[in-house]
Symmetry: none
């Protein structure tokens, strides 16, 4: 197998060097590029198309979570491991919500770091056991959780055309046909047709069902 190609984003050179040296003898991983701030990270990622991003939260220009969000949105197949000094609740929760595949405290051992990388490279998730408290508190609310649905990109959403997805987003922002038309500079009728078609494709018959379906599809 080819090594997992990694981009490293952290504003401290020392930290980057440390991680690089940790990975030096690992044949499974290869750091192919670095960035010292969020904006740069995005640029580098667009160029290099790595398999995985290791990113610090606190960075100049654009923080790590923003970077993660962008990746989740625009490069959904790039994995994201968030490294942080903090086990602050907000950061952890935000990271998960932003779509991070892992969250490690900088105090983690090399062994755990590698474990996390392997898990994530294999398509899994790895969140430091130290923060499980936070995860449980924030996400395990009701008890029963009936559907362990694959949160993968569903077939349903992929039958939508790009335009339809775009319009769906606007609808989900609470926009009416008129608003949609206006913000996309198309006629209201067109907006209506798009709405009509996408609702048909998603097999829903009203906004509520649309919203619920969207929730199931993790669009909201």
């Amino acid at each position: 197998m080819n090594p997992t190609r990694i981009v490293l984003a952290d504003d401290h050179e020392l930290v980057r060097d440390g991680i690089k040296s940790l990975l030096e003898n690992e044949t499974d991983f290869k750091v192919i590029a670095e960035a010292s701030d969020g904006k740069e990270a995005l640029k580098v990622i667009a160029q290099e198309k790595p398999d995985l991003l290791i990113v610090d939260i606190r960075m100049p220009q654009m923080n790590g979570l923003e970077v993660v969000k962008h990746l989740t949105k625009d490069f959904s197949d790039i994995k994201k491991l968030v490294l942080s000094m903090h086990d602050s609740e907000e950061y952890v929760v935000e990271s998960i919500v932003a779509g991070a595949d892992g969250y490690l405290l900088k105090g983690s051992s090399k062994a755990e770091f590698l474990k996390a990388l392997h898990a994530i490279a294999a398509g899994g998730k790895y969140f430091s056991g130290d923060i499980s408290q936070i995860i449980i508190d924030n996400f395990v609310k009701g008890k029963s959780k009936p559907s362990p649905k694959p949160l993968a990109e569903s077939e349903e959403i992929s039958q939508l055309t790009n335009r339809e997805k775009q319009i769906l987003e606007l609808i989900l922002d609470g926009k009416g046909n008129n608003d949609v038309a206006e913000s996309l500079k198309i006629s209201r009728r067109t907006a209506e047709v798009h709405r009509f078609n996408l609702m048909k494709k998603l097999n829903v018959k009203n906004l509520i069902e649309l919203t619920q379906k969207s929730k199931e599809l993790n669009l909201i």
Copy 2:
């Protein structure tokens, strides 16, 4: 500080001995009793009132999860660490739901084991990073999780009259004013007024916002 008093429940003597020897030099923890099946565990716990139970899932008579459930119900201040050979989804999820404070795979290192014990003794939770995938998949459903609100009955919802709450539910089921009217045997106009009023109270201006607000309020 007094050491944390532990009861050990596992049907394999070897495993129990192993854990005991691991804890031998730890002044913070003391194994005060053991049990080799679930029923016995409950009996011992009732006698000894330990601070913490380390319990295997697979045991004769009564499995570990059942024991955990009983403790959560009847001895809520006793902490529970579930030890398992399996990272099976069901077990993990069930453990959490049953009220376990931690879940460790038997393959965990001594360091992680102690970390977990310390975390749990201190009132925290510790779930092996290896199973974070499962936790995330099962409990983190929708993306946005804006409000770690106490899912207590919010002020907003309590300003609604009962009738309005009832109608809100129907709306959230995707019912239009006509459907609402029909199923409550009231006139459509009345349904409209209720909808109008409740939306005003919740300060939303369309169905999407209503749905989102309802999600925040954990109504959906």
